[in-house]
Symmetry: C2
Subunit: 390 residues, 2 copies
Amino acid sequence: MENFTYWAPTKYVFGRDTESRVGELAASFGMKKILVVYGGGSAVRSGLLGRVEKYLADAGIEAVSLGGVKPNPEDDLVYKGIDLARAEGVDSMIAVGGGSVIDTAKAIAVGVPYQGDFWDFYSGKAKATTALPVGVVLTIPAAGSEGSGNSVITKREGRIKTGLRTESALRPRFAVLDPVLTFTLPPYQTASGISDMMAHIMERYFSNTPDVEVTDRLCEGLLRAIIEESPKVMANPEDYQARANIMWAGTLAHNGICGCGRQEEWTSHAMEHEISAVYGVTHGAGLAVVFPAWLRFMADRNPGKVAQFARRVFSVEAHDDRAAALEGILALQTFFSDTLNLPVSFAALGIENPDIDLLSDRLHALKGNPTGSYYPLTPADSRMIYQMML
Amino acid sequence: MENFTYWAPTKYVFGRDTESRVGELAASFGMKKILVVYGGGSAVRSGLLGRVEKYLADAGIEAVSLGGVKPNPEDDLVYKGIDLARAEGVDSMIAVGGGSVIDTAKAIAVGVPYQGDFWDFYSGKAKATTALPVGVVLTIPAAGSEGSGNSVITKREGRIKTGLRTESALRPRFAVLDPVLTFTLPPYQTASGISDMMAHIMERYFSNTPDVEVTDRLCEGLLRAIIEESPKVMANPEDYQARANIMWAGTLAHNGICGCGRQEEWTSHAMEHEISAVYGVTHGAGLAVVFPAWLRFMADRNPGKVAQFARRVFSVEAHDDRAAALEGILALQTFFSDTLNLPVSFAALGIENPDIDLLSDRLHALKGNPTGSYYPLTPADSRMIYQMML
């Protein structure tokens, strides 16, 4: 186990009818004038946005709204939000939505008090240590941004999708997690969210750091719970209990508890980010394509942890590590395709002739050569893995 | 899953040589004059107390010290600490030690700003919402108080051992977790700590709340990790990696993550508190006696969760729930006796003729009749369970 600091001060308020507590929570964290960020029409159509505005007003809190966040959120709306926040003199942010909305709110939060270009934080030119406080009303369990100190934004120019990771500056002050708000998610979005949260766990799980039994067992336990609850939400989108388990798992998958004391991986995420940036696919669906391919590549090169994953998460009994690994990967891929109805190839994603050289070039331009830690990838390696997704 | 609020803002700084960061951490949380609380001679003899005082001085922080905390810490030292803290005008507390030291520091922290008797918070007469900030340098992984909002103190008059539970007021601001500091723990204390942390998980695990798959899996995973790492620390007290896993497991066992969304139990703890209060035994050792007996009683009355525990934690394969439960309980008891070398009966605890009526009367006087939630106990039930420990 390596040394680590774990600091996750977000206050989670979880369960039925918790959305009505957003005003009281915002007031308890000293929020007085809030920029409420949301996405497309669903938060408006469902009435959620209006209710949140009413809860805030009832608590004596002023609110300004900014809608229009899209999946794979872009920098242009962030700039617009920073200008609006400054013009209105807001002191805090509330995100009503999923990861894209939260990440946009975080980018605005870190940009408002900064004199330079907010992108400096994402490009690594500046270090984010302060930000406006952010609260969250979560509607999509997937990205885990409600409990993380991270934010992922795409720079429209050059389609550069990159993440900012802070220890605590961008951790939301509070997150309202009401499973009922997820009842109306379409199956594809539900499934993509599940794939995303599983990937967040697996990116931390596939590590060469030895002696991490506690976090290994936490990761495996969360994955098993997600696998057990998923068929229920896919069969019945209004199964409160299954939605609740999936929602809580999505937060724990990415609030850092699964990564304590270990080197993390994140290459599958980086490979997917390039697919999303170039072809505009849904992040979680892209991950269902990338992860099995990345794992199969690893089964031939560093099978140990993949075999442990297969045995402990999918109860594979094969004695040989490579055989066990391959059986576990097949089980994972079958779960993605048959239980979640997600694409597991470029073709199924709707990308008939992917430009593999471009994807690999972009990956290494952003992440270096080699990239990754569990088994660092050269450009030839990453091209091979992209090939395995055809 | 039930509604819940989970708020665990403690900053954990974990690993080798982290003790030297206590000055910087205290300063970062605005601490200027600190009451350092410690126990007996070991913190002095090992030099840890002196080093902590030096780290604080190097950070420009004033410190006053209060030693003498004993296991099952008592109210008299708390009163003394409150007087000292007020006289010296300290603004915060640092506990250097295990659960007894931390709980004493917390009791002083909540008592200093309160006009009345600090015991009001423990007796339920007053609600604790504010306290001086507390930091921790942990030396015994066991009680989990470094990450919890709780404190357990024994009132000397009448030997009433009772706990105070707060949402966040008594959560330490930071906890320094250096596994090297646990190398010198005697085997009996190491083992008692492991038993205590397992009990903290099991008190949350044995719940009738349905549909808590995520927290069930977290609990089971932590228990498995503890069971796997324990033989290593018992065989080699200086096995850093095993010590590290045990230390982190002890914190997660009790910082609330294992209890989210479920009714908790805590009857075994309450039954053990009476044994400790009357006979002065080590809490964790007492739990190794109580828990198997409580579980055997449950195997005949509410075996479902006990059977799940047996199957998922000890890989028991029996099909019948009661049979599986009994096999799992035997495995747990054997782990306590053979791996941890702990007593598993009153006799082995050194109590030849326990006054079972007294223990049962005290339990119900404090906790009510019936007490417990997984299967509420009448006085006849609790007497039977105490009998099963003979």
